[in-house]
């Protein structure tokens, strides 16, 4: 199940933060900072205050059978809250010299803060053993269902930064070609200085204000533009599948792709609708021990849907077998407990695509 992080998740989250197995972690490695982040998230999930944009929500993915935390992901309500949020935007300029019979399509990078105020998906981390299950879908799309459910607390646009190419020694072709020349420091040093992603306003003051002409960059740096670090493959591919655009914006530091799109056009948000539900006769869920209640991808032909309770305080989402057309969603006792559901309360469901789709479902 996907739910809000709680203070008693601290130890398990510490373990996840240190593992950094698969995905992008934005969790602090220090215990106190992590506890603070959980507290901040808890306030965002439960406070009666109007949304200010400063809220940061932290989700955990919990194996219902074992109770173990197997993943985490977050949302920042508004990117660059209280300051600008910088990106590079890809632009292409065509210039022609008729007298020379020459024509040129010039790729430029444009320092912008288009994404300021946009809701930002932060971190995405899942137990490596679950990478091939549907668990990542629950973690990624469940978070989007939450945004759809609480639309008034979020921007109508979302974005997600994704790590660019950098090796463990801190060599990053994009940084070496751009940031290095204007910061005068190596990538790891700059990363330390800025806490990783999301450069602050004063950092951008050091960067070139006009467009960067890509043809002037070393070839390796040109090639790395918009290239994804392998650790980001899994979350990035799901966001592209949701309909986010991954070709327009780049991270200022490492040149990684920043996916962006409108909430209303996300696949999960479009498919998500209220669904009748009823207590079912038995526990329906099957799955291998590693996945707990999360089914393996190639297990069978079951159509799955993402079910959520639409709440902010007490939000929970599960993957359940999709009901037959016209039939209600059947809930086991465990499902009912996980969702905090009572008969007569609404639930929402969004159909997942089969992992090996025979046909396009959303034609």
């Amino acid at each position: 199940m996907l739910r809000a992080a709680r203070p008693d998740d601290l130890d398990a989250l510490m373990a996840l933060a240190q593992a950094r197995a698969i995905g992008i972690s934005s969790l602090p490695a220090e215990r106190a900072a992590l506890a603070e982040q959980i507290a901040q998230s808890q306030a965002a999930f439960t406070s009666d205050d109007d949304a200010s944009g400063e809220e940061r929500y932290l989700f955990v993915l919990q194996d219902r059978r074992s109770g173990r935390l197997v993943g985490t992901a977050g949302i920042a309500a508004a990117a660059g809250f209280n300051d600008r949020f910088y990106s590079y935007r890809n632009e292409f300029i065509v210039q022609a010299a008729p007298a020379l019979g020459a024509r040129n399509r010039i790729h430029t990078l444009h320092l912008c803060h288009d994404l300021t105020g946009v809701t930002l998906l932060t971190g995405f981390h899942i137990d490596a053993a679950l990478a091939d299950t549907l668990a990542p879908q629950l973690l990624s799309r469940g978070r989007l269902a939450f945004i759809g459910a609480q639309a008034e607390r979020f921007s109508d646009r979302i974005a997600a930064e994704n790590p660019g190419l950098a090796d463990d020694s801190g060599r990053c072709p994009f940084w070496d070609a751009v940031g290095q020349r204007f910061f005068g420091m190596a990538y790891p040093e700059a990363e330390r200085l800025t806490g990783g992603f999301s450069p602050k306003g004063w950092i951008a003051e050091l960067m070139p204000q006009g467009p960067i002409y890509v043809p002037l960059l070393p070839e390796e740096a040109q090639w790395s533009l918009g290239q994804l670090h392998p650790v980001g493959d899994l979350p990035f591919s799901m966001l592209l599948d949701e309909g986010l655009d991954g070709d327009t914006y780049l991270n200022l530091f490492d040149g990684g792709p920043t996916a962006e799109g409108r909430v209303a056009t996300l696949k999960t948000v479009r498919r998500r609708r209220t669904t009748p539900a009823a207590p079912g006769p038995e526990i329906l869920h099957i799955g291998p021990p590693t996945g707990g209640d999360v089914p393996q991808a190639d297990e069978d032909d079951t159509a799955w849907c993402l079910v959520d309770n639409g709440r902010r305080d007490g939000f929970a989402a599960l993957l359940l077998p999709a009901p037959e057309p016209g039939m209600p969603l059947l809930l086991s006792d465990d499902d009912i407990a996980a969702l905090g559901w009572q008969d007569g309360q609404p639930l929402w469901a969004a159909l997942l695509d089969p992992l090996h789709p025979p046909v396009e479902v959303d034609a």
């Binding site: 210039q95 022609a96 010299a97 008729p98 007298a99 020379l100 020459a102 040129n104 010039i106 430029t108 020349r181 204007f182 910061f183 005068g184 200085l193 004063w202 950092i203 003051e205 050091l206 960067m207 070139p208 204000q209 006009g210 467009p211 960067i212 002409y213 043809p215 002037l216 960059l217």
Partner: protein, 286 residues
């Protein structure tokens, strides 16, 4: 137009067809190679109020003992028919006080800042068989002769006189500045284009070059090092122009990055040396 004596022993006169066999071998690739038309070649619809009475361009040489030694083209107002590009070399400081970081960066901005200026162009001279002292004397006679010519017809010339100096090139004639910048925006061979289109090729290629300021930091080290540097073979020319009172004013050519030297014409000719009455943005009035 008959010759006029300049420095002792030298005479300045217009180039004629008979001089071409002597002069052409002196010229750099891409230099203009034909006699100027009798009528102004510029004109067009541009607001060239002062053009019209006389030739837009003179090709002049100095000779001594009947032998040509150096030549140049004297132009009254450049860039009017076909805008000519240069980069202005600017400077920006990026500072992040919170980080105690401050970096000074050079920028190159494409523009036509010297449009309407007068020009000494394609300065060339006999090198083979001449001592450096002889070459220097010829160049000095040439430049001073051209300045005297301007002084004699002051109203036909602009407020500013410029000279583009050849930028750094390697033994094969390739410019590291072009290799680091222009090449990325025009894949063709610049020497071939210069041969084919003459000096105008830079006006054409400008349409392909970056229109927003380019940070010099993105250029290769060799290209950065070549900004506003004069080719070894033109050291003597730099010296001559400098002593004549022309100075680098932070503009460079778009092909080889050579410096553009400039001077107030009035200061050069010792003419109407009065300060501007009120307006000082001279380019406005042109």
């Amino acid at each position: 137009m008959e010759g006029s004596p300049v420095s002792p022993g030298f005479t300045l006169r217009a180039v004629t067809a008979a001089d071409l066999p002597t002069l052409l071998p002196w010229l750099r690739p891409g230099a203009a190679r034909t006699l100027p038309l009798a009528e102004p070649t510029t004109a067009a619809t541009a607001t060239t109020a002062t053009a019209g009475d006389g030739s837009a361009e003179h090709w002049l040489l100095v000779e001594t003992q009947g032998a040509p030694r150096a030549c140049l083209r004297l132009r009254r107002a450049i860039g009017l028919a076909l805008p000519r590009p240069w980069y202005h070399v600017g400077c920006v400081v990026h500072a992040a006080p919170a980080l105690q970081l401050q970096h000074r960066q050079h920028t190159l901005l494409l523009g036509h800042d010297h449009t309407g200026a007068s020009e000494l162009a394609d300065i060339a001279w006999q090198r083979t068989g001449r001592s450096l002292a002889e070459q220097a004397a010829a160049l000095q006679a040439l430049v001073q002769g051209a300045i005297a010519r301007i002084a004699a017809q002051r109203h036909q010339y602009a407020a500013t006189l410029i000279v583009e100096l050849p930028g750094r090139r390697d033994a094969q004639g390739h410019a590291p500045f072009w290799h680091g910048l222009g090449r990325h925006f025009y894949a063709g061979d610049p020497e071939a284009a210069a041969e084919r289109f003459g000096p105008d090729w830079r006006c054409h290629v400008a349409a392909l070059l970056p229109r927003q300021p380019v940070y010099a930091a993105f250029l290769s080290d060799a290209a950065q090092a070549a900004i506003a540097q004069v080719d070894d073979g033109s050291r003597l020319l730099l010296d001559t122009l400098w002593h004549a009172g022309l100075r680098y004013g932070h503009h460079i050519t778009v092909d080889d990055g050579g410096p553009v030297f400039e001077a107030e014409v009035d200061a050069l000719v010792g003419g109407a040396a009065a300060p501007p009455t009120m307006g000082v943005e001279g380019r406005k009035s042109l």
